[in-house]
Amino acid sequence: MPLLALPFEYLWWHYTLAWRDLVVIWGNYLWFIYHFFSISVLARTLLAPWKRLGEVYPARFNLGATLATFFINSLMRLVGAVIRIIMLVFGGLVYLLVILLGSVTLILWLVLPLIIILALVLGLALLFK
């Protein structure tokens, strides 16, 4: 293979294998964000008590004590839900951002060879104007 074929080999790679690699890496990052913010775990346990804190209901029925326990346990669930929702929203935003950045990168990748040529030509033109 002569040296001249190298640019063509490159371009073939740029629009096939490289694109595939980029999609895989994008997938990796989406997977990472999803797991890093524990999105599925948080969604599944949204209403669970915060760190399993809470009271045990009295063995013998006592309206006051039962209500107090119910109130405390509900409060713990509420606290848990609020914190989890905050985390979910934040994680969701980051996830969206990665989707956005990924798509921009993929589109940019398509025109990157053109951008380089353009920047080179324009740069030279400006330099020797």
Partner: protein
């Protein structure tokens, strides 16, 4: 059809990347990228400055320059991406296409091929150089080899590409070794074996892969290692448990545990499988003390941290419970039970705890000392599906404390810790060695042979069940040792080779191992002479022993047997014990290296358990204890024939295999021991033969024959000894020499007190005449000297007639005093 090797390389899928690598090397690309980034930054600053100053023309020029820099930097960046894409695909994902004839690493070597001389391409490539360096071959050696080779290039065999599989670096190295005689001869002259070449190649390939893995920060494998947030929000807290425990996911070690070669992966997976059971998900890890039980747990922790575990174990929190810490906190049974109940309840309600008890037998025994049987208490928690328990137990304690508790054992699935195999161990050592090299700022460099020597030394000279631990310890210890030696010698870097390891082990153990240095060479060659100075009149016996020991030291010996084993036959007082002492002095440098067991004390039925220990009363055996405390030395077994049959059978095994098992089934190594068994059996026969003036060469076979016929030793036991050595009765002349030696010892002792004692020929003759006994050999002479000569000297000292500075001698059977001229 491509015909030549060069054509095949040119048509390969990897050719563009290899060509690119040749045009702009990776190093050059990295430098260009760095410069590009710097320039871009500088230009942005200048641009800002120009814009601030005003002036449209100047500004547009700066913009032009910035755009050109940006375009060029992007170009280099894309080229780098192009390269890496193929590189990682091939190196890490091992994606070989059907048409691929070779791997990337091999491609780099073949690309440099000239005149079809693969070997010089290999040796001049960076990979080849790295391999040779790990084998301890220097650049100069390579250069001079290549120079010699150029002279007869016509002998080169051509490499044929196109087998069923892609040509890997290892296959290429093997091919070179098999097809290129000059290469294999050269390696042979450097004392490098094919297995070592393969090992070094494997090491370099692993290093290349590890480096590539670390570079690819965007890989799933890499991202997996970053711990996530909010994993424990739905699980409870365990404050009581944490008072006596440590959260293995929270501490520092987890963060530093690098992925890569792991010795305990298979066992960690088995542990995970046990923990995933729906009920009684408890594991009992049993192994020798220090055999790496906790390593298995750590491996599981690492996988937990990476999220590389089945869903059932995700978000689980491994907590290591320190039994000793817990037991130390309680003096009362009730408090201990209450606290244990509380912390176990906590662990259950938390919902995600893997409780690792570091020493279950100790916990049970400790509680028992306070009068508490916690088996029942533990049991109710062990059946709970909400708690996973991993209990660790030493094998010895397992037998003593746990084996009898059936109900408790039913709650656990047992996991036995196996020893690590060699291939895995070498990989671990390689990773560790590279780590140590970088930690010591390249002051040291390990060769492959050094690592294999470390493993064999650990196996042979530091006997324990856990060879991997021993080998790793040796690896860590040798570094400061080498650095100190180098500092004393005024050198900076040091290549650690096989010989350094052997010298280090030799210093540590006292066993001569390393290259046979001149003084030792002299000692070995002159072993007979050295022994003859200390043992009189046994030339044939000493020659036989010396020959056997030279064989051992030359590395010809079977390493799975003791260093040497000899049976000394002869009557008492002919120098058998003296030979043992002399051997200890000559071989190990000190007489104390000689251990002694009087076998006549081991005649009764319980002798065997006294030697190897008894399970019922938990007492360790004397022989087991002796060999554990002194793994290297000379063991004298006096009056060997008097012991019972069981003990003789035990020695049958020891002499044959070099080890035995004690009462708890632990191996006791005896491979670094010289066994000397003495026996009076046949003394009478020897006497008769000597009187009949029989030829000594025919004596031996006949003597052994008679001993076997008399049923004293079985033939298989006699065959186990390296040599059956016959000690002849001492002649009058020998006896005179012995008497002289013994009297000289007295002279030395008196000289320390400032008294000069002169030994006269008459005294020697008197000692021989009156002291020796044909039946007891030289032994009664010592008694005669003590009773007569020493007694007379002592009387003279006490009565004040013999003072420091005075001289004395022995004349006509009495002590004769001579007043010193200085006195």
């Amino acid at each position: 059809m491509p015909s030549t090797l060069a054509d095949k390389i040119r048509l390969s899928r990897l050719y563009p990347v290899l060509l690119l690598e040749e045009l702009i090397s990776r190093r050059a690309r990295n430098i260009l990228l760095f410069v590009g980034k710097l320039l871009a930054l500088g230009l942005i600053l200048l641009l800002a400055h120009a814009w601030w100053q005003g002036g449209a023309v100047a500004l547009s020029r700066w913009i032009g320059l910035a755009m050109i820099t940006l375009a060029l930097t992007l170009l280099v960046y894309l080229i780098e991406c192009f390269f890496r894409s193929y590189y990682y695909d091939n190196i890490l994902d091992n994606n070989y296409h059907r048409a691929d004839l070779f791997t990337f690493t091999v491609g780099r070597i073949l690309f440099k091929l000239k005149n079809d001389d693969v070997w010089s391409a290999f040796l001049t490539s960076s990979t080849g150089l790295a391999v040779m360096q790990r084998l301890g071959v220097s650049y100069q050696q390579i250069a001079s080899f290549l120079q010699q080779r150029d002279a007869n290039l016509q002998t080169v065999v051509k490499l044929e590409l196109g087998g069923a599989e892609a040509l890997t670096l290892r296959r290429l190295a093997d091919w070179l070794y098999q097809h290129d005689e000059s290469f294999s001869k050269w390696l042979f002259s450097l004392n490098i074996k094919i297995a070592e070449l393969d090992g070094a190649v494997e090491w370099i390939v692993n290093e290349i892969e590890a480096r590539a893995r670390a570079e690819r920060w965007w890989s799933r494998e890499h991202l997996e290692r970053i711990p996530g947030l909010a994993k424990t929000w739905s699980y409870g807290q365990v404050p009581t448990l944490l008072r006596y425990s440590e959260d293995l996911l929270a501490g520092e070690p987890t963060a530093t545990l690098a992925a890569g070669t792991s010795a305990r992966r298979a066992e960690a997976r088995r542990l995970a499988t046990i923990l995933l059971r729906s009920a009684e998900a408890n594991a009992l890890v049993v192994g020798e003390a220090g055999s790496g039980k906790l390593d298995i747990v750590w491996e599981l922790v690492r996988e937990l941290a990476l999220g590389a575990v089945p869903p059932g174990l995700e978000h689980r929190r491994p907590i290591l419970f320190h039994t000793a810490l817990f037991l130390a906190a309680f003096r009362e049974r009730e408090l201990l039970e209450r606290e244990l109940f509380k912390l176990l309840s906590e662990a259950i309600s938390a919902g995600n705890i893997i409780l690792i008890i570091d020493d279950l037998p100790a916990l049970l025994a400790g509680a028992e000392r306070l009068g508490s049987n916690i088996t029942a208490l533990l049991d109710q928690f062990l059946i709970s599906p909400a708690l996973m328990v991993v209990a660790l137990a030493d094998r010895e304690l397992f037998h003593r404390e746990l084996e009898t508790r059936d109900t408790l054992l039913q709650r656990f699935e047992q996991l036995l810790v196996a020893t690590i195999d060699q291939t895995r161990l070498i990989k671990i050592l390689e990773t560790q060695a590279v780590d140590l090299e970088s930690k010591n700022k390249s002051q040291i460099f390990f060769t492959y042979q050094a690592l294999t020597a470390l493993i064999t030394s650990a196996e042979r000279y530091f006997p324990s069940e856990n060879i991997s631990d021993q080998a790793l310890d040796l690896l860590t210890e040798i570094v400061p040792w080498v650095i100190n030696h180098e500092r004393e010698a005024g050198r900076e870097t040091r290549i650690i080779e096989r010989d350094e390891v052997l010298t280090f082990v030799q210093e540590k153990t006292g066993i001569p191992l390393g290259p046979i240095a001149a003084p030792e060479q002299a000692k070995l060659l002159g072993l007979e002479t050295e022994l003859k100075k200390q043992v009189i009149g046994q030339e044939t016996a000493l020659a036989a022993i010396s020959e056997a020991l030279r064989r051992a030291r030359a590395g010809v010996r079977n390493e799975k047997r003791p260093i040497g084993s000899f049976l000394f036959l002869g009557s008492t007082g002919v120098g058998k014990t003296e030979t043992a002492k002399a051997l200890a002095r000559v071989l190990f440098g000190r007489e104390e290296a000689m251990m002694r067991l009087d076998m006549s004390e081991y005649q009764s039925a319980e002798s065997l358990s006294r030697l190897i220990g008894s399970f019922s009363d938990g007492k360790p055996g004397l022989l087991a204890k002796l060999l554990r405390q002194n793994p290297y030395g000379v063991l004298l077994l006096d009056e060997f024939e008097k012991t019972n049959k069981d003990v003789l059978n035990l020695f049958l095994q020891i002499l044959d295999e070099g080890y035995f098992s004690d009462m708890l089934g632990r191996r006791v190594n005896a491979r670094n021991i010289v066994f000397l068994a003495t026996s009076n059996a046949g003394a009478e026969i020897i006497w008769q033969m000597i009187r009949a003036k029989r030829d000594p060469s025919t004596m031996r076979a006949e003597l052994i024959n008679q001993i076997v016929q008399a049923g004293i030793f079985r033939p298989e036991l006699l065959n186990r000894f390296d040599e059956v050595v016959i000690f002849q009765p001492l002649s009058e002349q020998n006896l005179a020499q012995v008497a002289k030696l013994q009297l000289e010892k007295l002279v030395l002792r008196l000289r320390e007190q400032g008294i000069a004692f002169q030994v006269t020929p008459e005294l020697v003759a008197e000692v021989v005449q009156k002291g020796s006994d044909p039946l007891f050999g030289a032994r009664p002479m010592a008694r005669y000297i003590q009773d007569h000569v020493e007694q007379a000297v002592a009387d003279a000292i006490i009565s004040g007639r013999l003072k420091p500075g005075a001289s004395a001698t022995w004349l006509a059977g009495t002590l004769s005093l001579q007043t010193s001229t200085n006195a």
